[in-house]
């Protein structure tokens, strides 16, 4: 048995570990009973209801704004516009860039769907009816909407991540093989199923906000700055969030409007977005145009990679979307240039959507590599293996973990890749053309500082918490497991709580970075409690544990004993009782790994995706009956929830590949398909067999060996589908989504 001091993820413990097992979700009973309280479920005494009025033009100024009819409408309490609303400062800089601009600043219109008024009434029906009575006219100007519009303001290298290695131009010139092309991806909308909701209430000068957020800590910091109150006077609550996929990473203008209205009215205000408003109010994955050249030797060793990506950003907002930059870190290639460009457009704010940047960039890169393999008559899998990056391509350091080769090999084996006849249109089954396609994924590493607090109570139970969120990722469950294992208390006696900004500060559920940061902080806090309990008995002549340090003991079953001597120990409850303690609490923290200090490049997850498509030979209808995802996610903390993350991401990837496209009317900037009837997402019948394999070893850069798996499930699916469609039909589609009209 290992000791608590060792790097073993499980510490020294008596009972069988719960880390790594597929423990059922601890919030499962609540969710299946309809008893989990989402922000839209909150009902406060005296609560009022708000409805938004949004701009129906994309650029210009408000000329007239008539609110009298709305104000006179039954039940209406206030109509807030830029004319009567107090001017608020913008929120702070965040790890994702600047906050979105404050609402109702002036009469300028920057995009279709911009909030221009908020109507608050006694009932939701009254608010919605009155919102329709607000009359607006505009002095419109010609909106800048397309990535091809020469008027768009251009920002080069917006994140300082452009890569330059070697001499790519010369390497392309002299290469034996090359593929050059333009790939495009459309706007996609996050569209979590839960309508985003905010319920705001002021009590004296203290603000409480129930919100659909992935980041309560940032919500508190932002609202404190905007409303000029101390951070301690703001509380943001999000115990359950109905999905978000990036849409909950920012404090959006509607959140601030709800809080503002609550302050003006001195009553609670509830604002629930409509589905149509979900398309314009909480971000989206921006479209891209990507020019890419890959060049290789005659045997497929990459000699040059040239990736240039242009995406759109709102007129006065930031978005972190370095699509080309991520290609520089995917393969061993001596000559590389990446260029990312953003254009300012009159569009609703783009923001992270599951696997931001990587989701778009990987489509172009992995499609181009498939074309290169085809032109060389090389197996696409073999081409990837030949260009495997044994070291981090950016800094040359060894990876803290990298099982990408094993992903390729195990995935290919499970999928039956060797049965693939390389010739396009060669595999037919009745009326269906069958295609096999694959793609590789190197997901970027991301980490932020995190804190947690752990308590062992006098009854031997534990309470552990952090201001994190569980947006469906399994955080409640996984952190219960980490706490249980570290403390040696059965999971049924451990409560892990989150979703409250009053708890120790946590980074966002995003960037696939939360699990690693939080698990380390939770473990640190739990070990802190163990240390304090040992402090209690340091000079305790009645305790067999007197004078022990954490390295001398083993935990399990709610007690501690001397290593290798199970009889010589005692329960936490006994220790606390004898020392008159109601509880013992300690704080824990984690900081991101430092590559220079480690002498290693901290690694994100790696993956290989294998996809079978079937295309109706006459009708062109495309199906994806089978996907195999082989993932190196380091130490998997819960096999069941991690697998769900991968299959959920895969479904998102199928949506990106085959269905999802937010259509903006070219003349007006209006989104033309802002319903689930028109913006197609995968339904149950679109998804059949999904295999997930976890391979690889615990990562060496984090104490628990974890790597995030929240986003990698999506990445690579679009390219693998497009590559499989080429294999099935002989037609290359370089523009997402892959639709049948492109095949006919």
């Amino acid at each position: 048995m290992s000791t608590v001091e060792s790097r073993d993820v499980r510490g020294s413990r008596d009972a069988a570990p719960v880390i790594g097992t597929g423990m059922d979700r601890v919030d499962g009973a609540r969710k299946t009973a309809g008893a989990a309280g989402y922000p839209s479920d909150v009902q406060l005494p005296g609560q009022t209801h708000a409805a938004l009025v949004q701009s129906t033009v994309a650029a210009g100024r408000i000329r007239t704004l008539e609110t009298a009819a709305a104000e006179a409408s039954p039940g209406v309490l206030t109509v807030m516009t830029h004319r009567n609303a107090p001017r608020l400062p913008d929120g702070p800089m965040t790890a994702l860039g600047a906050s979105p601009p404050a609402p109702l600043r002036d009469d300028r219109i920057l995009h279709h769907g911009q909030h221009i008024a908020l109507v608050v009434a006694e009932t939701p029906e009254q608010a919605a009816a009155a919102a329709r009575l607000v009359r607006v006219t505009y002095d419109t100007s010609d909106p800048v909407l397309g990535l091809d519009d020469p008027r768009a303001e251009r920002m080069d290298n917006p994140w300082g991540m452009d890569a330059d290695r070697g001499d790519p131009a010369e390497a392309v010139r002299t290469a034996e093989a090359k593929v050059s092309g333009t790939w495009t991806t459309p706007d996609n909308t996050n569209n979590p199923l839960g309508l985003f909701a905010t319920v705001a209430v002021w009590e004296r000068d203290a603000l409480t906000v129930h919100d659909s957020t992935q980041w309560p800590t940032m919500g508190r910091v932002t609202l404190a700055k905007v409303f000029d109150v101390p951070e301690s006077a703001v509380r943001v609550l999000a115990p359950y969030v109905g999905g978000a996929f990036g849409a909950g990473l920012r404090v959006w203008p509607h959140v601030i409007l709800a809080a503002l209205a609550a302050r003006v009215l001195r009553r609670p205000v509830k604002l629930v977005l409509t589905r149509a408003q979900m398309f314009t109010s909480v971000g989206h994955r921006p479209s891209t145009v990507q020019h890419l050249t890959v060049a290789s030797t005659g045997t497929g060793e990459l000699v040059a990679l040239d990736h240039r990506c242009t995406s759109g950003v709102a007129m006065e907002d930031d978005d972190f979307e370095p699509c080309a930059a991520t290609s520089a870190l995917a393969y061993a290639c001596p000559n590389v240039i990446t260029r990312d460009v953003q254009l300012r457009l009159n569009i609703p704010d783009p923001t992270s959507m599951r696997a931001p940047a990587v989701g778009q960039g990987n489509f172009a890169l992995e499609s181009a590599l498939d074309e290169l393999a085809h032109s060389l008559s090389t197996d696409p899998l073999e081409l990837r293996l030949r260009n495997y990056a044994a070291e981090h391509p950016g800094n040359g350091l060894p990876w803290s973990s990298n099982a990408l080769r094993e992903c390729y090999e195990a995935g290919a084996e499970r999928f039956g890749w060797s049965r693939r006849d390389p010739e396009p249109r060669s595999m037919r089954d009745g009326d269906e053309l069958v295609g096999y396609g694959m793609a590789g994924v190197s997901y970027p590493w991301y980490a932020q500082p995190c804190k947690a607090r752990a308590t062992v109570n006098s009854d031997g139970s534990a309470f552990v918490r952090s201001a994190a969120t569980d947006i469906g990722t399994g955080t409640y469950t996984v952190m219960t497991q980490v706490s249980a294992d570290t403390l040696g208390i059965p999971p049924g006696r451990v409560r892990f709580d989150l979703g409250d900004s009053d708890m120790p500060q946590s980074p966002q559920a995003g960037g696939s970075g939360l699990t690693g940061a939080l698990a380390t902080a939770v473990r640190d806090a739990c070990r802190g409690v163990l240390g304090r309990i040992l402090d209690l008995v340091r000079d305790d002549s009645e305790s067999p544990l007197r004078g022990c340090t954490i390295g001398d003991v083993t935990v399990g079953g709610g007690r501690m004993h001397l290593r290798g001597r199970p009889a010589e120990g005692e329960s936490y409850a006994d220790i606390l009782a004898r020392h008159g303690q109601v509880e013992v609490t300690a704080d824990g923290a984690s900081t991101p790994a430092d590559a220079a200090e480690l002498g290693m490049a901290p690694a994100g997850a790696f993956g290989a995706k294998f996809v079978e498509v079937r295309v109706d030979a006459d009708l062109g209808v495309i199906r994806v009956p089978r996907v195999v995802s082989a993932i190196d996610g380091g130490q998997i903390l819960n096999e069941k929830t991690a697998r769900s993350q991968i299959i959920g991401g895969t479904v998102g990837g199928i949506g990106q590949a085959l269905f999802e496209e937010t259509v903006t009317d070219a003349g007006t900037g209006r989104i033309a398909n802002a319903t689930f009837g028109d913006y197609l997402v995968p339904v149950n019948a679109d998804v059949t067999q999904m295999d997930v394999l976890f391979v690889g070893d615990p990562d060496r850069a984090t104490p628990l060996g974890t790597k995030g798996v929240g986003e990698i499930g999506l990445v690579g699916i679009a390219a693998a589908v497009a590559n499989a469609v080429h294999h099935a039909t002989g037609t290359r589609v370089r523009s997402l989504p892959v639709t049948l009209d492109q095949l006919l």
């Binding site: 299946t32 939701p124 109905g242 689930f676």
Partner: protein
Amino acid sequence: MAEALSQRRAAGFAPEAPVELHVNGRRHRLHLDARVTLLDALRDSLGLTGTKKGCDQGTCGACTVHADGRRVLSCLTLAAQCEGREVTTIEGLTAPDGGPHPLQESFVRHDAFQCGYCTPGQIMSAAALLEEGRADSDEDVREFMSGNLCRCGAYTNIVAAVRDVAAAGGADASV
């Protein structure tokens, strides 16, 4: 005349009317704005927030409940239309012994949800499917459950959870 009324309605002058709803075996006398949907009546007037709103347009299935044992989209049903009908929501779905419905346990075991927002609607649809005897194959479940979107993508696990209960003769144990 009709236009005048619709203008008055647009302006918020909605007639209120008494409505008696039977939900999960209990009677509720309410006074409701005629525009109020069954979904909003359940959530806002009765505090039964287990039933979710994902679109309010009949396109996502999150608001699925049973009316007289058949599944309906409560966002497309006016509360006033439900007088005299037995409405069952996720809060009222139980096994015959009063414990959790086997679907609820099966969903947990198979991790058939992530964020959980679609889950009450998925379970209500699945319970109706079992009743109707339309859960006999994976294909059937996939097809008949395709009106219930899951943006978290838990579909394969949902199918496994429903089939597990169907295989155990689950319809007998449902509502």
